[in-house]
Symmetry: C2
Subunit: 393 residues, 2 copies
């Protein structure tokens, strides 16, 4: 065995995440490691909490990054808020609603599924019907921005509906945070989790979460211990909590946190509203190019996420071949379909640092070339110009 | 709010971990992010598995890093191997045995505790007595290298004893991996977890684990689903498993994995046995200096870990003041006591990249200065020379 150092190629990441990471974030990750109880590090943790509160638009004291990827953030919400026997309404309109169901059941809860077509927003009426049919429901869980389809649901009104029926809410904001409007306090979301590798343009591996007062009340009054020691917020709070004395729980991923801190400083410099507007504008430019080629969006316009564009793969086109050619010839990664959409859609992300003019033009130009080579039934040579027209406005 | 980029000072990390990280590892973490299903990244994952197999001295196919810190590696072992009602003998001789008990109980298992004094190895006779008294025991769990005390237990014979009684073994090797002899296959360990921030000298955040055939058999024949979706090895294997087709489970922490890959390449270049020998030699030099000053080790010599030196704080010395002065004046971090040892011991790590001559001399010289300032009852001005004598041999 003589394995050498690993030197990855420089890709352009326009899949469903990870997205392109800012060089500032990558550099931050290589700064000197500190101890997890070093007073200088602890002051960085305080800043991190402030920065995350800004990103989530919340004053929740319990706002912090879980030391593991978004899936662990999801699990943090469920294991802390769902006790055995609790009924949870889970809205499924893509892959991640299914994962929520798994979480509920592994906590001993009862999942009542509200199904919507993949590629559509969650239907408020169906949720209201389920709430009426299940008056003993404790929690309503839904995905704000479905990463598997690019559909956006009406978080504000879903939360209002859940509260009307006395339920807590768990919201998946993995793909929405920093990419499209999300207001935790104004919308009164009780528990929310996100990821670092989408519109924050940080490397993957951490999951920002935030819990409001109603959620904390439930956690403090649990009858049973949280089934996960690692994700038990009663314990995690002793390290990330508001007190000046931090108690050791687990060793924090120091350098990954440097990266997230820098990504959040960049977001603060740009301004949250400006970031949302940038994602929206760049989406419109990409959309103009894709539609000029004749490609069709999966999600109806009013329910579309600007940061994740799901497209129907044209008839007769070899999905894997096109993606491999983009990767090998252009170092460009776009996403495949997930679950029932595998082989049927492409997912083109314009997330965070990757949501920029250069990427839009490279992506459209490369698609133009590669779809031409495989003789796809699309209009060639028009995409870049259509996008440029929007970008110039 | 106007929070600036975070620029940490350059510390010397000689606590219980994180330890000093090699500049090569830090640089690796800042390389361009790849997608988690990129074929180039997948080939890196294959190399990672080979490198980890070497570090663990195993041929176990299921050898990989969990995408979260050591505590999550511990939880991975317990949630996959312990089912409700299972009896588990947990050996406790420090903080981490207590954490194992928490894990067993949160899995619905029954923990039978075998208690030893903190600072001592696990007593084989007590474990045998417990096994005889509890013939329905399914698993024996113990800590190979207790990070809270610096004591090393006889993993080889503990595993043999457990197997004689038909039990599986879960071994905590967070602090031992790469720092002192550890042979997973030769000792027939069934399930083992470690951390990246100790003797691998990588940044914290990942937990290398390895599972042998008996453990896999148990996992495949479980009656109940694993209570954690994130840590369910049946699912994780679809991404990290042997097949060439990798299925998405969660988004891997790409850049942290670059760091671990580089740390393991460095270990391979040095050679595992050479790394063990270096830790031992540097321990002897540090010990000579500390003993020349008149400081006393907590752990008897035959049970001492070379990579973690726990010392009794001399009578009348202000623990927090000494550590703060070392940190502020010398940028040197040493560890405080944990649990019942808080305020009573210091833990000086010589782990991985931090186990080197320069650190030994700086540590002894700085201690000499600071203990002199607080008028500690120790012999001053002799420590560095005593260490140098050993280093010269």
């Amino acid at each position: 065995m003589a394995i050498k150092s690993f030197h990855p190629p420089q890709r352009i990441l326009m899949g469903p995440g990870p997205s392109d990471v800012s060089p500032r974030v990558l550099e931050a990750m290589s700064r000197p490691t500190l101890g997890h109880l070093d007073p200088v590090f602890v002051s960085m943790m305080d800043e991190m909490k402030e920065l995350l509160k800004y990103a989530f638009q919340t004053k929740n004291e319990l706002t912090m990054p879980v030391s593991a990827p978004g899936s662990a953030g999801m699990e943090t919400c469920f294991v802390n808020l769902v006790e055995p026997g609790d009924k949870v309404i889970v809205c499924q309109n893509g892959v991640f609603g299914g994962r929520m169901k798994e979480n509920v059941e592994r906590c001993g809860g009862i999942a009542v599924m509200v199904q919507d077509d993949w590629g559509r927003a969650v239907d408020l009426q169906k949720v209201e019907d389920a709430l009426k049919a299940n008056p003993d429901t404790k929690v309503v869980a839904f995905v704000h921005a479905e990463t598997s389809t690019g559909a956006q649901s009406d978080a504000k009104n879903l939360v209002a509906l859940a509260h009307k029926h006395g339920c807590l809410t768990i919201v998946d904001a993995v793909t929405s945070l920093a990419g499209s409007p999300l207001k935790v306090d104004e919308w009164a979301i009780d528990a929310i989790y996100s990821g670092t590798q989408k519109c924050l343009s940080c490397t993957p591996g951490l999951s920002p979460v935030s819990f409001g007062e109603r959620a904390l009340e439930k956690i403090k009054n649990r009858k049973n211990k949280v089934q996960s020691w690692f994700l038990d917020l009663n314990l995690v709070m002793s390290y990330w909590g508001g007190s000046t004395k931090r108690a050791y729980h687990h060793t924090a991923p120091i350098n990954s946190l440097y990266g997230l801190h820098e990504a959040l400083v960049i977001l603060q410099e740009e301004g949250l509203e400006n970031s949302w507007a940038r994602h929206q504008k760049n989406h419109l430019a990409l959309r103009a190019g894709l539609e000029a080629m004749g490609l069709n969006f999966v999600v109806p316009e009013s329910e579309r996420l600007p940061q994740l564009n799901a497209l129907t793969i044209p008839e007769g086109v070899d999905d894997a071949l096109v993606r491999a050619t983009l990767l090998n010839d252009y170092q460009l990664e776009i996403g495949a379909g997930l679950g029932v959409m595998a082989g049927k859609v492409w997912r083109i992300g314009l997330m965070g640092h990757a949501s920029n003019k250069r990427n839009i033009l490279v992506c459209l130009g490369a698609l133009d070339d590669v779809l031409g080579r495989v003789k796809a039934p699309v209009q060639l040579g028009v995409a870049v110009a259509a996008a440029q027209k929007v970008l110039e406005n």
